[in-house]
C-alpha cells in the first residue's frame, strides 16, 4: 500500500528531471547551432539548398491555404459587417486579421507540419543510418554542416512564407468581397490602407513570423538530432515536433501579442 504514492512521486520526479534535462540539452544544442553558423553564410550554397526544401517546397500549401483562409474571411466578415451596414470595412477586417495574426500563426503552423516534420525526419534518419557519425568520423562537424544551414534556411523562409500567406489571403478576401459580392473596390482598399499601419501591424507581423520560424526550426532540429536511432524513435520525434512546435507557436503568439498590441 505504501508503494503506491511512492511510485507516483517517483514517476513525477523522473518526469521533471527528464524535462529539465531536455530543456537544458535543447538550449545547449541551440547555442551550438548559433555558434557554428559560420559555414551557413560562408558557403551560402548550403543554406540555399535548405531554403529550397523549407521554403520552395512549402510554397504550394502556403499559397493555397492563404487564398482559402482569405476567401473564408471575406465571406464571414461580410456576413457580420453587413448587419452593421459597414461592409466597406471588409478590407480592414481581412487585412488586419491576416497581417497581425493569421498570416504569421497559420503560416507557421503549416510550416511546422510541412517543413518542421521533414527536418526532424531527415535528421533522425541521417542519425539512424549513421550518416551523422560518418560525418563526424570524416572530421566534419555535423552541427555546422547539417544543422546550422537547415536552421538558417528555414528562418529565412518563414517570414517570406508568412508574407505570401497574408498577401494571398488579402487577394482571396478581395476576390470574394469585391469581385463576387460587390463591395465597393475603392473603399475596400482605401479603408484598408487607412487602418493598417506599416510599423504597428506589418512589421510586428514580420517579427512574429521570424520568432515562430526560429522556434519551429529549433524544435524540429533538436527533436531530429535527439531522436533514438530507430524507426519508432524517428516517427515519435516527428510527431513530437509537430505537437511541440504548434503549442510553442500559439503560446509565443499570445506573449508577443501582449507585448506588441497592448502597450500604447
Amino acid at each position: 500500500m505504501m508503494d503506491m504514492p511512492r511510485a507516483g512521486l517517483r514517476r513525477i520526479g523522473a518526469r521533471v528531471i527528464n524535462s529539465v534535462w531536455r530543456i537544458g540539452t535543447g538550449t545547449r544544442f541551440f547555442a551550438l547551432t548559433l555558434l557554428h553558423s559560420g559555414q551557413s553564410f560562408g558557403r551560402f550554397q548550403l543554406t540555399v539548398r535548405e531554403i529550397f526544401s523549407a521554403g520552395v517546397l512549402s510554397l504550394i500549401i502556403i499559397l493555397v491555404s492563404g487564398l482559402f483562409v482569405g476567401m473564408v474571411l471575406g465571406l464571414q466578415g461580410y456576413e457580420t459587417l453587413q448587419t452593421y451596414g459597414s461592409e466597406e470595412a471588409l478590407g480592414v477586417l481581412v487585412s488586419l486579421s491576416l497581417v497581425r495574426e493569421l498570416g504569421p500563426v497559420v503560416a507557421a503552423l503549416l510550416f511546422a507540419s510541412r517543413a518542421g516534420s521533414a527536418i526532424t525526419a531527415e535528421i533522425g534518419l541521417m542519425k539512424a543510418t549513421e550518416q551523422i557519425s560518418a560525418m563526424e568520423m570524416m572530421a566534419v562537424d555535423p552541427i555546422a554542416r547539417v544543422v546550422a544551414p537547415r536552421f538558417w534556411g528555414a528562418v529565412i523562409s518563414m517570414p517570406l512564407l508568412a508574407a505570401l500567406f497574408s498577401a494571398m489571403g488579402i487577394f482571396g478576401g478581395y476576390l470574394v468581397g469585391v469581385v463576387l459580392i460587390g463591395v465597393d473596390e475603392g473603399s475596400f482598399w482605401s479603408q484598408m490602407q487607412a487602418a493598417v499601419d506599416l510599423r504597428e501591424d506589418i512589421l510586428n507581423g514580420v517579427i512574429k513570423s521570424v520568432v515562430f520560424g526560429v522556434a519551429v526550426t529549433a524544435i524540429a532540429l533538436f527533436e531530429g538530432y535527439d531522436a533514438p536511432p530507430t524507426a519508432e524513435g524517428v516517427s515519435r520525434a516527428t510527431t513530437r515536433t509537430v505537437v511541440t512546435s504548434s503549442l510553442a507557436i500559439l503560446g509565443l503568439d499570445f506573449i508577443l501579442t501582449a507585448f506588441m498590441f497592448s502597450g500604447v
Binding site: M126, S133, E136
Partner: protein
C-alpha cells in the same frame, strides 16, 4: 616514429557502471589488416569507437598514430580523423547526394582543390573500387555491396593512414563479400594503409587478414595469425572457427533450471 599505428595497453572502458572492456592489449602495425572478432555484444564495436575517438577510454593507454586518445582535445581529434577513414556497417552514404558527391564530400570539406581536380580524384577513387560507371547514381539505386564499395571510396578519398571497418561483410551475398574482402586487402597493400576490421565473418577474415584478435566478454580471448587460429585447439576459437552451436559460448542465455521455469512438479 614507431611502427605501430595503433597501440593499446591494458585498456578498460565502462558505460556508466557497466564495464564493457577489461584490460585489452592490441597492436596494429603499418600496412597490416587486423581483424577484431567475437560474438555479438562482446565489445568489438565499442573498441572500434574508442579507436575512432567517439568514446574516451576509462583507463589504460590508447595511442593512434602517435596521438594519446585519452588526452586529445577536439581540435587534435579532428586533425587525427583527417588521417583516418571509417566504413560503417551499411555504408552510411549521404542519401541526399549522388555517388560522385558522396566521394567528393571529404575533399570539398577539407581541401580547396579546384573542381576539375576533385572530379579527377573522385573518378580515380571510384575506379579503385570498380564503380566509376556508377558515379551519377543516387545511393538508393545501389545494392548493399555497391553502397559499401562507394563508402570505401569515400573513406580513402583523403588518403588516410588508417581505415576502420565496422562489419563490412554484414548482409552481403557471397560474391560481394569476396569482392569487398579482396578490395580491403588490395587497398591496404597498394596505399600502404592500416586496416582494422570488426567482423564476425570468420572464413572471409581468415582468408585475407594478417592478424586476428578475439574479443569475448571484454577481454582478448585469443589472438594469432590465421594459420595459428585454424590450428588452434582452444575450445573458444574452435567453436568460433567452426561455427558450432554450443561450447564455451553457450546456446542458452543464462536461465534458471528448465524444470523450474515450466513449474513442473514431480
Amino acid at each position: 616514429m614507431s611502427d605501430n599505428l595503433i597501440e593499446i595497453r591494458d585498456l578498460s572502458f565502462a558505460y556508466g557502471e557497466r564495464l564493457v572492456l577489461k584490460g585489452i592489449n592490441l597492436t596494429a602495425r603499418r600496412g597490416q589488416v587486423v581483424a577484431i572478432m567475437g560474438i555479438s555484444g562482446g565489445g568489438k564495436t565499442t573498441l572500434l569507437r574508442l579507436i575512432g575517438g567517439a568514446l574516451r577510454p576509462t583507463r589504460g593507454l590508447l595511442r593512434v598514430d602517435g596521438v594519446d586518445m585519452s588526452r586529445v582535445d577536439a581540435v587534435g581529434l579532428y586533425r587525427l580523423r583527417r588521417r583516418m577513414g571509417m566504413l560503417f556497417q551499411f555504408g552510411a552514404l549521404f542519401t541526399d547526394m549522388s555517388v560522385f558527391d558522396n566521394v567528393a564530400f571529404p575533399l570539398r570539406e577539407h581541401t580547396d582543390l579546384p573542381a576539375e581536380m576533385i572530379h579527377d580524384l573522385v573518378l580515380m577513387k571510384l575506379n579503385a573500387v570498380g564503380l566509376r560507371g556508377a558515379h551519377a547514381l543516387m545511393p538508393a539505386e545501389l545494392s548493399g555491396g555497391m553502397a559499401r564499395r562507394v563508402a570505401l571510396a569515400r573513406a580513402i578519398a583523403l588518403e588516410p593512414r588508417l581505415i576502420l571497418y565496422d562489419e563490412p561483410f554484414a548482409g552481403l551475398d557471397p560474391i560481394s563479400l569476396g569482392v569487398t574482402g579482396n578490395l580491403i586487402r588490395r587497398l591496404t597493400d597498394t596505399l600502404g594503409i592500416t586496416s582494422v576490421v570488426v567482423t564476425h565473418d570468420i572464413q572471409e577474415s581468415l582468408r585475407m587478414v594478417d592478424y586476428v584478435y578475439f574479443v569475448s566478454e571484454g577481454v582478448i580471448a585469443a589472438e594469432g595469425t590465421p594459420e595459428q587460429l585454424r590450428a588452434s585447439r582452444e575450445p573458444f576459437v574452435h567453436q568460433f572457427v567452426h561455427g558450432e552451436e554450443d561450447g564455451p559460448v553457450p546456446f542458452h542465455y543464462p536461465a534458471p533450471a528448465y524444470i523450474h521455469d515450466l513449474e513442473l512438479r514431480a
